[in-house]
Amino acid sequence: MEKYPAIKIKDGQKYFYRFSLNQRIQHFILAFTIVILVLTGMPLKFNEASWAPYLYSLFGGIQYAPTVHKVNGAILVGLFFYHIFYLIYVIRKYYIEPAKKKGALKKFGALKIVLTQKMAPNLKDAYDIRDLMKYLLFLTAKRPDGDEMTWKEKFDYWAPFWGMVVIGASGVILWNKELFTQILPGGVLNFLLIAHSDEALLAALFLFIWHWYNVHFSISVFPMGTVFLTGYLSEELMVEEHYQHYVDVMKKAGLEHEILPPHGAHGHESPEGGASS
């Protein structure tokens, strides 16, 4: 973790560390396989649509597209398990073992560490949602001071996480129906097909509307945020979305005097009268 400096300065601009190379590769595999899975799955879900045969034929039609779907599904399931092991490894190495060495790991300490990870939902997320709604409804001019991971990112993380459990498990069973129906009744497959396809539609719409709005189409990042490629986020976006974390990082780096005021991302005067970047 030390190999990534918290702040990088390039062309006089500060960039803040967000994602390691390992995490970026995981995201790339996730994004690539999901796009292929959607493109090879939706023509089957909406097989009567006029566009379905054309889209399906791009992947080899009914002869090959199901195989492309299964191969990508298998890669995604593999990535899911890798991610679980990755999480266990990181939490153990960087949080539990140091606490053990210090002798600070009490009863249920490991569980507490897991539940207080930066991706774990907490009460601040609820307050941030409330404050965001106040801001969006013009009840306040102050955006919520986001932490290292905002509620939006946690939503982006846990929604596909739940989705992968549902879609992945149902997909594996539907793929190997002969094996699983040695135990399960065949009627279960009807429910799994509904779960697989409807949850996939939800996941696809969630990602292509909500996630892509936040990382591609929002005015702050349009046409595309670069953090998923570089692993570093610009100061402007840190101020807009992660102000609380931004202040912490700047203080840790001894740059208190350079801390920008909140709301700087919109390029207007701050309440304190300072100009934004």
Binding site: L44, F138, T181, G186, D198, L201, L205, I209, I219, H268
Partner: protein, 352 residues
């Protein structure tokens, strides 16, 4: 040039023309056109408006007909009411007539009468086991509700497999058989019987003409619009993409080795889809050979229908609510965010 010489030249040209014509006629019309019906019916525009006001086309494409299943049957073999030319409006063909073809294994006149016997005892028969007419017996199919003469099918240019006779295969026949006429006839016959002539989508569409008809489904108390619900499964969806490997209606509803005309009701213990037999249908060597009988409990004809499958209805409803409940608030936030960015400083009331 004197008149006699001109006459001679005209005679030679006329003779050559006749020879050419007769040669071409010989090449194309080896079918059983003994009545010389093609004299008129070879013209593509031959048509008339019938008594019901419908345009009827009477053109016979000879080359397609010659490669069809009825190539060796005389026109009069089926159109038995036509005895003179020109003829009056022909009656509908009765598929059960005896035609002039001799069935080679019994040396009797060929007919489709056996099929009628099969149908009679099948689920599609018009009479019940006692011999009484079933309710709404007029709804039950006759031959031409399912079958057609390939001659009248639309030309299928899109098919990867070229229709018609494979010249390469004919070479094998010629090793033993000497007469091309025989080779064409039996090669055609055997290959037609060995392969499906229609893909699963065609079969499903054919069955759907009755089994997706809401009034028929209600009238006969059927539990599902069978082809619609088949279309909701992977099999049905793959069929719409013209997959020829997936099972269609006939693959499951007919006992292996029996004629499709012997299809039985699912309540009949001898039916392939009877509760006690349907496990074997899925587990055939061509489909899911390692499947246990439990696989067959999959609802092949489930619909999003509160009456037919309430559990699936509510399960689907849950996902609809989940999708709407997740996306609508998020889309609302996106909309508000877009609006807010136009007025970054504005607030209602006191700025905090």
């Amino acid at each position: 040039m004197n008149l006699t010489r001109a006459k001679k030249i005209c005679f030679i040209f006329s003779l050559s023309f006749l020879i050419l014509i007769s040669d071409s006629v010989q090449k194309t019309s080896f079918a059983a056109d003994i009545g010389n019906c093609l004299l008129c019916h070879k013209y593509p525009g031959l048509s008339r408006v019938d008594e019901e006001g419908r345009m009827r086309l009477f053109f016979i494409n000879e080359s397609i007909y010659n490669n069809g299943v009825h190539a060796k049957v005389k026109c009069e073999g089926c159109h038995t009411d036509i005895t003179e030319i020109p003829h009056k409006a022909a009656k509908k063909v009765d598929c059960l007539v005896e035609c002039h073809i001799i069935e080679p294994t019994t040396e009797t006149k060929f007919s489709h009468k056996d099929v009628a016997t099969f149908i009679k005892t099948s689920v599609h028969g018009k009479v019940d086991k006692i011999g009484n007419d079933k309710k709404f017996s007029e709804d039950y199919p006759s031959c031409k509700d399912c079958h057609d003469e390939p001659l009248y099918r639309p030309l299928s240019f899109f098919k990867k497999v070229r229709p018609g006779i494979s010249e390469a295969s004919l070479g094998r026949c010629r090793v033993c058989h000497k007469k091309d006429d025989f080779i064409y006839q039996f090669y055609n016959h055997v290959t037609t019987r060995l392969h499906k002539s229609r893909n699963p989508l065609n079969i499903a569409e054919m069955c759907g003409r009755c089994h997706d008809d809401s009034s028929l489904v209600t009238r006969h108390g059927l539990s599902t619009k069978a082809v619609f619900s088949y279309g909701e499964t992977f099999h049905g969806k793959a069929a719409t993409f013209l997959d020829e490997r997936v099972p269609d209606c006939l693959d499951c509803h007919v006992n292996k080795g029996e004629s499709v005309h012997q299809m039985l009701s699912h309540k009949d213990p001898l039916s392939s889809i009877h509760e006690t037999n349907k496990g074997k249908v899925c587990a055939t060597i061509d489909c899911h050979p390692s499947a246990s009988p439990k696989l067959a409990n999959y609802g092949v004809h489930s619909e999003f229908n509160l009456t037919q499958s309430p559990a699936q209805y509510f399960f689907t409803f849950f996902f609809i609510v989940l999708t709407g409940g997740t996306l609508l608030p998020l889309m609302g936030i996106i909309f508000l965010d877009l609006v807010r960015r136009f007025f970054p400083h504005a607030t209602i009331g006191r700025r905090k």
